[in-house]
Each structure stands twice: as C-alpha cells, then as structure tokens.
C-alpha cells in the first residue's frame, strides 16, 4: 500500500561549481512537523527551495505519495499540493484578509465579485483556526504572527498537504513564536498536513517537532523522531565536529594594558537594536558575529548614520559621535562596506574607476573641474593590489560579482578612514583575493584604525578578528570572545544559545557564560 509522503532522495545541487547539497534524503509525512535545522549556509534554504519547486537540482529525485514528480515552478508545486511560506510574506498589505484569501481565484458571477460568499468563507476559515481577526481587516493592520498564520491558512485553503515554513519565527518574540508553532502543530495534526519548519533557532522549535533533521555542509548529519530527539545532540550536529579545522594564521592582537579604546559604544538603542555595548581598541580588529537578523549589520549602519539612535552613547576618541547621515559619517572619518553591493553598493552604469573614487571625488577637483585622469590613475593604483579582472573604465555592472566586491573594497582603502565598518568584506571573491583583502584589513588595523568586521563565515571571522562580539536579538553584551583560542564550534554554540530563545535577553546584559570557556 503506497504511503502518503513527500520524499527527497539523493538530492545534489551545485551553484557555480560549489556543491551545496551532497545527496540529501528528506521525508515529510502528513500530520507531522519536521524541523530542518542547520547553520548559516548549511544548505537548508536550498533544500527547501528545491522541494517547493522554486529551484532546480542536479541529480536525485522527488517522490510524492510514491510517485516521482518534477516541479518546474512554485505553481507546479502548488498544484501538487506542496506550498511554501517564505520569510518575506506574500500578502498584499493594502487589501483585506478576504481579498488576500481569494487573490487570483475570486468567486464571481459574470465578472461580479461574490463579496458575501467570499467573506463568509474567510470568516469560517479564521474561526476554524481560532484567529481573532475580522475578514474585512486590512492585512497591514495585523501583527506579524497573525499575517504569518493567515498566509499559512491561505495555503491550506488551497489544498496544500505539504507545507514548508522558512524561518517562521525570525521576526517574532519568544512567546509569539510559541503561539505560532502551537497553532501550526495543531493544524498539522487535525488536517493531516505535513509541515517542515526550516530554522536555525533550535530550542524554540524543537519541542514542537515530531522529526528533526540537521544539515551541515550540505549533508544530513542527524536525524531522529519524537521520543529520541535529543536537544544536545541536535546542537552538536549543527555546530559540527570538524577536527581538521583550519587554524587562525595570525597571532591575535591584544590591546596593551592601559591603552584607551578608540570606539566606545554604550547601550546603543535604535528601532531594531536593543542595547549594544562594545569597545574597539586602536590596532585591533573586532569581529561581529550572530545569526541572520541579530542586528550586526544594523549596528554598522547605525554608526554610519543610516538609522536614528534612540538611546545610548557612542564615543570616538573620547568625543561623542553621532553621524546624522552617511555623508556626515564620511566627513567624520567613517568608511562602510555594504553587505549587499548590488542594492546599495555601486552605481551600475558608472565605470569601475569612478565607483572606487565616488566618495572622495572632490579630492580630485582642480579649478572647479574634475581631474578625470588623476582620479582614474589613483583608482587604478588602488585596484592594482587585488588583480581586478575586467575593463576598469567600463561600467562596473559588466564585472563579475567578485571583481565588483574588490572594487568596492578598493573604495574603502581609498577613503583611508579612521573607523572602518566592513559588512561581509570578502563576499563572493576568490581565495587569493580573499587573502589580499584580509591582509589589507590587517594593515589598516596596524595603522591604528578602528576596524569592525561583520561576517557570517565563522572561519573568516576567526581568521581576521582579534576579538569577537556576538549579537543576538538586536543586542550585544560587552563581554567578547578572544578569537585566538576559539573554535568554529564554540562560536556557533555561543550564537545558538543566545539566539535560540533559551535566554530571551531582556536587556542584553544577562549572558550565559556556561558553554564557552575562553
């Protein structure tokens, strides 16, 4: 007798030559909640996208209810009763709940909408799921968990039998996350829906799971079902045991006793930061680590004058430092390398060289006019350090991603700033250039600059940072970890324990010390 299930077998997938999934097996059964765990870049999002039809795969197969299926698009998946709720919700916020529920499949008679029937159906749905929301309420007036529930309900109403939830609790407080997961669990059991929850927050989700699978480096390293799921084993599996971990190259710099920190941040708060305290000493590189959405990038952007500071102090060289805008920050000697170069990094149609010198064009002004040749020569000189491939006088958009990143890093060098904020400095560059970039970063610190590096790659962070501050839920305690005697596992452990919701940091001061011994 064919068993109802949705199975992935031996999935392999590479992105531009890099293998991200190494023959992954995964199974979902109706009526069960399956937790899919893994660290940043472990391949869980790729697996989810493949199984939801949003992404192709190189080899392996997908088997739905005993039969092989080919999903070419999310629409294909939906017609096979497979649905996915992504982190970015798809609801249209200006429309009412009813309108969203029936979006694209409105009930009508000769083109006239059957408002009453649609509203009644929506009301019934909401009632069924115990959601205290009116069918006519506008989506934008609802809370985030409510929206999430509505999106889930909509997918169920479209007859989804297998439902993927991508990081459903990221934006939620611990209690709200509990509510949501309890709701999901109940639906799964009552309606016999197979639910997959993809997340890196272990402790929040684990209690609500029937099955747990952990991916590390694109392979399944742990799999268990209800009575035998052990939280410590899950955490160990996520953190990974890699004995041949590359060692850090440099001897970490430690601030000599008595030297004063150049940058002091005390209990900094903004709309998304809930208390960040840290210090950076001259000559040292401070690494910022944390899960996605923990506030690392937001912190950099705040120092760069992009977000309003609501409370707390920032002192630079002992002087209060509040940049009101990026141009103000640049004038005060701050350089910032954005994490998303395409979104807010470079000007696509502008030449590579001009992109490098963009923030300091006025340096090349001669009698009102811009000395193009001097600017270009200077930019060429900066880029020659990295062996940037491509037409430097051509538009930057025609370069490969790695070379674009080198150009933007060249901009940071050219700025010669006192406070350097680097968000994923080596994103997408090849290994050789990575080493060059690390060396330049180290050189900046040696010159006495204040360097702050954000990275999701633990190895990278351990390699370049002297100390590491761990962010979680928008806050960062003043205690930091010495990078020198830290391993990747310890770092991940730290982030997991903080971000996992075991200790909801109320003020960002209480910080568990039990797991990391430095």
């Amino acid at each position: 007798m064919p068993v109802d299930s949705y199975v992935a077998r031996g999935l392999e997938k590479s992105f531009s030559g890099v293998r991200v999934l190494h023959g992954v097996d995964f199974e979902i059964s109706p009526g069960k909640v399956h937790g899919l765990f893994g660290h940043n870049g472990a391949g869980k999002s790729t697996l989810l996208r493949i199984m939801a039809g949003a992404c192709g795969y190189d080899s392996g197969e997908l088997i739905l209810n005993g039969r092989a299926v080919v999903l070419n698009s999310p629409r294909d998946a939906l017609s096979s009763q497979i649905a996915c709720v992504y982190q970015e919700l798809r609801l249209i916020s200006q429309l009412s709940v009813t309108q969203n529920v029936f979006l694209g499949r409105e009930l009508s008679v000769h083109g006239v909408r059957m408002e009453r029937e649609m509203r009644a159906h929506t009301a019934r749905l909401l009632e069924e799921h115990d959601l205290p929301v009116l069918p006519d309420a506008l989506v934008r007036d609802l809370s985030h968990p409510q929206r999430q529930m509505i999106e889930i309900i909509i997918n169920l109403d479209r007859n989804a039998r297998y439902l993927f939830l991508d990081e459903p609790t990221t934006a939620l407080e611990v209690r709200r996350a509990e509510e949501l997961l309890a709701g999901v669990r109940r639906i799964a059991v009552e309606k016999q829906i197979g639910v997959v929850v993809v997340t890196h927050k272990v402790s929040e989700i684990l209690d609500h799971c029937d099955d747990a699978t952990v991916l590390t480096g694109g392979a399944v390293v742990y799999r268990a079902s209800t009575p035998r799921i052990d939280k410590n084993e899950v955490v160990d599996a996520i953190v990974g045991k890699k004995p041949e971990e590359s060692l850090t190259f440099h001897t970490p710099f430690s601030a000599s006793a008595g030297s004063n920190p150049r940058l002091v941040v005390k209990n900094l708060r903004t709309k998304g930061l809930r208390g960040v305290s840290l210090k950076v000493y001259p000559g040292e590189i401070l690494g910022l680590y944390g899960l996605v959405g923990s506030g690392r990038s937001r912190f950099c952007r705040t120092l760069y004058g992009m977000e309003k500071i609501t409370a707390g102090d920032v002192l630079f060289d002992g002087v209060p430092f509040h940049a009101s805008s990026p141009s103000d920050a640049i004038e005060r000697g701050v350089a910032y390398l954005t994490e998303e170069r395409k979104k807010d990094g470079f000007i696509p149609q502008m030449s590579v060289l001009k992109n490098v010198v963009l923030p300091m064009l006025s340096r090349f002004r001669r009698f009102l006019l811009l000395d193009d040749r001097a600017a270009d020569t200077y930019a060429r000189g900066v880029l020659s350090r990295f062996d940037t491939q491509g037409q430097l006088s051509g538009p930057i958009q025609s370069l490969s991603g790695g070379n674009q990143q080198k150009a933007l890093f060249g901009r940071i060098i050219a700025q010669n700033a006192e406070l350097v904020l680097l968000d994923e400095p080596a994103k997408g560059v090849d290994i050789g250039a990575k080493r060059d970039i690390y060396e330049v970063i180290r050189g900046m610190a040696r010159d006495g600059k204040c360097v702050v590096v954000v990275s999701t790659e633990e190895e990278e962070l351990l390699q370049i940072a002297d100390r590491i501050a761990v962010f979680s839920n928008g806050s960062c305690p003043e205690e930091t970890l010495q990078a020198g005697n830290l391993t990747v596992e310890q770092l991940r452990m730290r982030a997991l324990n903080d971000g996992g919701g075991m200790t909801p940091s109320r003020k960002g001061v209480d910080f568990p010390q039990n797991l990391t011994k430095t």
Binding site: S327, D344, F346, I347, P348, Q349, M350, S351, K354, R365
Partner: protein
C-alpha cells in the same frame, strides 16, 4: 559623453563609435528624406527657421535631461515657459523695470520654481511625476490670473535683441543654446557635481551611502530645468514682443522636449544618457516638425508622429534596460547603429 557609457577598448571599431552615432544617423536619414521630398527644406532660410523654432525645445530638453539623468521627470517646464513669458512682460510694462534686470529676475523665478519642486520631491518623498504635474497646473494658471488671459504688449525695444537679433547671421537663441549646451556638457562630464548627478540616477541609495548629498542634487537638477524653461519663455516673449499666457504650443513643447531626450538616449530610468545625444534628439524632433510644416502636412498629425517616436524610443530603452533585447537582430542593430553595447 558621460563616463557611465565609455566604450570598451577591446571592442570592434563599430562599438568604439560614440553612442550618439545611432541617433545621429537617423537624423541624417530624415534630413536626406526631407531634401529629396522638397527643395524648400534644405534652404538657408528654412534651416534658420528650423533652428530658431528648435531653440526653445532645445532649452527645455537640456533642462529635462538633467532631471531624467537623476531618474526624475519634470512636467512643469511647458507651464514655466508661459509663466516666464508673462512675468517678463509684467515686470517691464507694469513695474517699469529695465529689460536686462527683468530678464535676470525671470530667470530667478524659473530657478525658484524648480527649486520648490525639488525640495518637495526630496523632503516629502512625493514622486517627481506628481509634484511637477501639480506644479504644471500652478505655473500655468498664474499668468492667466495676472493677465486675465490678455496679451501684454512689450514696448522696451532692447528686449527684442534676445529673440530677434542675428549676430553674424545666426539667430541669437541658437547661439545661446549652443553656449548653454557646451557649458552643460562640461558641467556634467567634467565636474564633481556632474558625476554625482549620474550617480544618483544610477543608484540613489548607493550614492547616498557614498556620501553624496541627494538633496543638493535633486534641488539642483529641477532648478536647472526651471532655469532652462525660463530661458525658453524669454525667447518666445522677445520674438513676438508680447507677454502671452499661451505662447506657441506650450503643451507640445514639454511633450517634444521629453521626446527629444528619450530618443537621444537619455534613459527614463536614470543614470544613462548624454547632453549631446539629447540635443541630437531635439534637433531631430525639430526637424521632423519642420519638415511636416514644409510639406504642408496637417499640423494635427504632428503630435501623432512625435508620439510614435517617443513610443519607439522608450520601448527600446525599456527592452534594453531589462536586457530582454536578446533577439538575433540586436547584434545587427548594435553593429549597424553603434547603439550602447554592454561591455
């Protein structure tokens, strides 16, 4: 002309031609067609008429190009032409101000009007389309209110020098336009602010993070556009020596100026385009318009033809920007017209 569009070194000879070659070739074709269609087209007197009529469109197009480069649009220029025309007459006839001072004041009014649009766009975040659309209404009705829709005859003879004098046989508006174009090209290509204008149009957020003062750039481009429109109004007024709330074809001028920029290769999405291209576009529009007059084609046809030209230009721009133009004929098109190649 501007650096975002530098040709690559390793490309073929055709690719190394300036981007304006394509539109220039089209212009030459139109002129050739005109020449063979009627002997009255390529005469010295008609060319002078063509250029004189084109001067106002050219000025509007010049200002419009700055705005388009930042990714905005200025719909108020046509009305500012009318407003300037009337204000000049009011200042001279009613306030008794000597004409040179009146001219400067009118230019100031044009700049101020543009600055107001720019400030609202920057601070309120209202889309440029809406702000300048509203400004168009405001600027159009002020002269009507002042004059009660009547003409004001201008009696200061010196004012006529602007629109009617012909130093060395060339109409002064044409000389003024050429000078303005040279200044604008140098400004855009050779100054820091010019580079910043292209940067803002290419990626506003990245520009802001690179420390560029977005407010300054936004206000500046609309001020330039307002200034150019005021110049257009002065040319109109001094040609007919009348302060008219509806000189020439105000609506058409705005329409033609946007068309000229767009067919000249200035992207409606910002960041790409050159003054030279826009000016060739303006000459092309003026030529098409003039040719239709010379051929005595019903004037009602003109907006239709210009409309089709805009549609063609924008469609090309859109397909090109979204990289959907990967059809086999794209290569052919590129090699035969030297249109912006990618890499």
């Amino acid at each position: 002309m501007t650096q975002p569009c530098e040709p690559t070194i390793r490309s073929s000879f055709l690719d190394r031609l300036p981007r304006e070659t394509g539109i220039g070739a089209v212009l030459l074709c139109i002129i050739a067609v005109g020449h063979f269609a009627t002997p009255n087209f390529l005469t010295l007197s008609n060319v002078k008429v063509l250029l004189l009529n084109g001067a106002v469109i050219g000025f509007l197009c010049l200002g419009q190009t700055f705005v388009l480069l930042t990714g905005g649009i200025d719909l108020s220029t046509g009305s500012i032409v009318a407003m300037s025309c009337v204000f000049a007459a009011v200042l001279m006839q009613y306030a008794g101000i000597p004409w040179p001072l009146a001219v400067v004041l009118v230019m100031g009014i044009g700049i101020a009007t543009g600055m107001i649009s720019g400030l609202i766009i920057h601070y309120a975040g209202v889309p440029p389309f809406i702000v300048t659309f509203a400004m168009q209404g405001v600027a159009a009705s002020i002269p009507q209110i002042i004059t009660g829709a009547n003409f004001i005859m201008i009696t200061q003879k010196g004012y006529a020098l602007i629109g009617q004098s012909r130093p060395l046989g060339v109409p002064f508006p044409v000389i003024a336009l050429v000078m303005a174009v040279v200044c604008a090209s140098i400004f855009l290509k050779k100054t820091v602010t010019g580079t910043h204008i292209c940067a803002v149009g290419g990626n506003a957020e990245a520009s802001r993070l690179a420390g560029i003062n977005i407010r300054k750039i936004t206000v500046l481009v609309y001020a330039i556009s307002g200034f150019c429109a005021a110049c257009g109004g002065l040319i109109y007024g001094s040609r007919i020596m009348v302060g008219s709330p509806n000189p020439g074809r105000v609506g058409d001028d705005l329409f033609f100026s946007i068309a000229a920029s767009v067919v000249g290769g200035v992207s409606l999405f910002g960041g790409t385009g050159t003054i030279l291209g826009a000016m060739i576009g303006a000459v092309m529009i003026a030529t098409v318009s003039n040719l239709m007059n010379v051929l005595s084609i019903n004037p009602f046809w003109q907006p239709l033809v210009i409309g089709l030209i805009i549609l063609g230009g924008v469609t090309f721009d859109t397909l090109h920007s979204s990289k959907r133009l990967r059809l086999p004929w794209k290569k052919l098109w590129k090699s035969s017209f030297g249109f912006r190649g990618n890499s």
